[in-house]
Amino acid sequence: MKNEQNAYILSILVENTPGVLSQVARLFSRKGYNIDSIASGTTEDPLVTRITIVIAGDEGMITHITAQLRKLLPVISVKVLSTANSVQRELVLVKVRAETREKKDEIIQTANVFRASVVDMSRETLTIAIIGDEGKAAALLDLLRDLGILEVVRTGTIAIERGRNTIYDNNKEKGEFNYGKNVL
């Protein structure tokens, strides 16, 4: 078992039922694991929700937590994605102090470099939206920090596998887990 700490992305398909998110989150808290980000939304099937969780940990821990997740009744499928084999995106909204025209210009220029967009503006502030992976958002936030960030909100990372593979693919392990789901 490797003890190396890495960022893992867990894609979890669940039935869209009340309490399912807390059931999923509870498994992490029970083991004392801290979730870095969590994003949830419906899929092509309105009855199915996809939850994406980013968590730092080692391989053993990830194997263990995915095994436990797969046992939950409303969990349909779990896939561990690595940063290399998936495309990740996150939307970050940043409200920055911009009292003067010069400052506004500077912020807009910085945003343009990152292909971020201005989504709202007031006399004293600018709100910037940036979509990208974690690195891109971090770099922009770093620059904006000098100008005075008022607040930041992020959706949490969502990710999808590169290439033909999907979360619906069947394999031996999945078959075993569905059985191990010890239900049906």
Binding site: G19, K71, Y179, V183, L184
Partner: protein, 568 residues
């Protein structure tokens, strides 16, 4: 057909073949109990003294019969009183459907009288919880709940009905559906369709079985562990054939008692912290360890890293999440114990491991010398000599539990009922009630300690009221024995808060409930008391006075390797 919602609940229980319910009424579940009044001739309800007793009784009923147990309780404190019972069932994979009622929709979440979020509380200790807000969901949810409780790795589920759902003027559509049809209708069918699961038990992977057959062929010193999965799957016949073909020593875990005959020449007894020398040494020296339906708990694999360090470890389990959870394995087969063992038995030939067996069994301890005092071994020896061999043994938790597992012989699944995983003191009496209700033809022995008995002893009221002939044997050492033993050995004899020398007079206590009580201090008295208890046909409490410093032997300290015996 339009029937009352409460009627639908009870009809759905009848669909499942339920005949006995353990429970306790209260404000929010009144409507269901009102309906139960009309179903008295079809559904027997056992009113316990406390909801926890009802939960353990439903659990004991499930463990001893292999059927799904059913337990009712009201909202709030009624529901929270169940939680220890739910967790006990969950840890030991016992199928029980807990039914509670909550406050009405209008006041839900407003801290109404006796309101608690029981589905939230029970979520970590159940396979599934259901909050029923729409009466039309009743049949579907109950059918799903029973399927979930019983299938795969069994376990408890909880259904919480809102009070307005059970209102007596609420009518729902209900059509009788035989149990075999359930997977093809409603929620179960949808679940199956959406996720592509098959409701049938899938076959174990053929390649995995092939590989294990090769590993068995290459092994010179095989060793088997019979876990609770063998008991739950009722795979004892298959396991026996497997062990005999393998000609390998077999250890049981606490939960595996009854999975392999206790008196069989291949058995080494219990494995782990209080495991026998042959078990622990065999585990340490074998070259192939096959564990069936066991989860390598910390009481078995005291040090997971060095557990069976010379062996290839093979894990056969129904729950994929158990594989590599506590102990890293070399190979696994996911499947129902019964089916996997059937496949293996068809593939392996008769082996002969005489030399290996001789080595393992050479470590058997010589029989203990009598000291004149009544010892736990004497007590259980006397019980075994007087009670029928197929008597069901229900234990509480602690020293008497270990002695019971060590000295009794269990020959069939359900013969030993013990809280192995959760270690719930006070489990025994309730569970014994359930076991006797499920097995009226068998003698039920409730083994308990003076500490445990005081935890749910009030269930003697239930025993007395329904005249349930359970024989309760109290090992009274006037202390919290197991903790006392640890304090003596590992805490320098500082007996912090374990002295129970202020217990009530158990004989008088029994008599106060209208139950015969006897106090015994010698083997002869014990024999007499057992004969009386067995012949009287009613419940009986036998208090056995034993030495305070009696210990469970052997003993390995927590976190120490299995062969590092602290006590021989």
């Amino acid at each position: 057909m339009k029937i009352r919602a409460t009627q639908a609940i009870l009809e759905c229980l009848l669909e499942q073949g339920v005949d006995t319910i353990f429970g306790y009424p209260g404000g929010t579940i009144l409507n269901v109990y009102d309906e139960l009044y009309r179903y008295q001739d079809k559904l027997r309800h056992i009113l316990t003294a406390h909801e926890q007793g009802a939960a353990h009784a439903a659990d004991g009923y499930a463990r001893s019969t292999g059927k799904v147990g059913v337990c009712f309780a009201t909202s709030g404190p009624g529901a929270t009183n169940l939680t220890t019972g739910i967790a006990t069932a969950y840890m030991d994979s016992s199928p029980v459907v807990f039914i509670t009622c909550n406050v009405g929709e209008k006041v839900l979440g407003k801290d109404a009288f006796q309101e608690v979020d029981i589905t939230g509380i029970a979520s970590p200790i159940t396979k599934a919880t259901y909050l029923v807000r729409d009466p039309n969901d009743i049949p579907d949810i109950i059918r799903e709940a029973f399927a979930v409780a019983a299938m795969g790795r069994p376990g408890p589920v909880l259904i919480d009905f809102l009070k307005n759902v059970t209102a007596l003027d609420v009518m729902v559509d209900y059509e009788y559906l035989p149990k075999t049809e359930h997977p093809f209708h409603g929620r179960l069918a949808k679940l199956k369709k959406r996720s592509g699961w098959d409701l049938k038990t899938p076959e174990p992977n053929a390649d995995d079985v092939d590989q294990l057959v090769r590993m068995i062929g290459a092994s010179q010193k095989p060793f088997l562990i019979c876990g609770g999965g063998v008991v739950r799957s009722r795979a004892h016949r298959e396991f026996l054939e497997f062990a005999q073909r393998m000609d390998a020593p077999v250890a049981i875990t606490a939960m595996g008692g009854g999975g392999f005959p206790g008196g069989h020449p291949l058995t080494t007894g219990m494995l782990g912290m209080h495991g026998s020398r042959p078990s622990n040494i065999a585990c340490d020296t074998c070259d192939l360890l096959i564990a069936v339906g066991c989860r390598f708990s910390d009481r078995v694999a005291t040090v997971p890293e060095t557990f069976a360090h010379q062996a290839k470890i093979v894990h056969i389990d129904i729950d994929r999440a158990e594989i590599d959870k506590n102990v890293q394995t070399d190979h696994h087969i996911v499947g129902d114990a019964k089916r996997v063992l059937q496949l293996l038995n068809a593939r392996i030939s008769q082996a002969d491991h005489t030399e290996w067996k001789q080595f393992v069994f050479s470590h058997r301890a010589p029989p203990a010398q009598g000291t004149g005092l009544l010892t736990p071994c004497d007590i259980i020896g006397t019980i075994r000599n007087t009670a029928p061999g197929d008597s069901i043994v229900v234990t509480d938790v602690g020293q008497h539990q270990m002695w019971s597992i060590q000295y009794f012989h269990f020959d069939y699944p359900g013969q030993l009922i013990t809280s192995g995983g959760f270690g719930t003191m006070g489990f025994g009496l309730g569970a014994a009630i359930g076991a006797k209700m499920g097995n009226p033809g068998k003698v039920v022995l409730h083994m308990t300690g003076d500490g445990c008995f005081r935890m749910n002893g009030q269930e003697l009221a239930t025993v007395s009221h329904y005249d349930i002939p359970i024989i309760t044997v109290i090992f009274n050492n006037h202390t919290l024995g197991m903790v006392h033993q640890w304090q003596n050995l590992l805490y320098g004899g500082r007996f912090s808060q374990t002295d129970l020398n202020f217990a009530p007079d158990f004989v008088k206590l029994a008599e106060a409930y209208g139950i015969r009580g006897r106090r015994v201090t010698t083997r002869a008295e014990m024999e007499g008391a057992m004969h009386d208890a067995l012949s009287c046909g009613h419940a009986c409490v036998i208090e056995c006075i034993i030495d305070t410093d009696e210990t469970v032997r052997p003993m390995v300290s927590a976190g120490k390797p299995l062969t590092d015996f602290l006590l021989d």
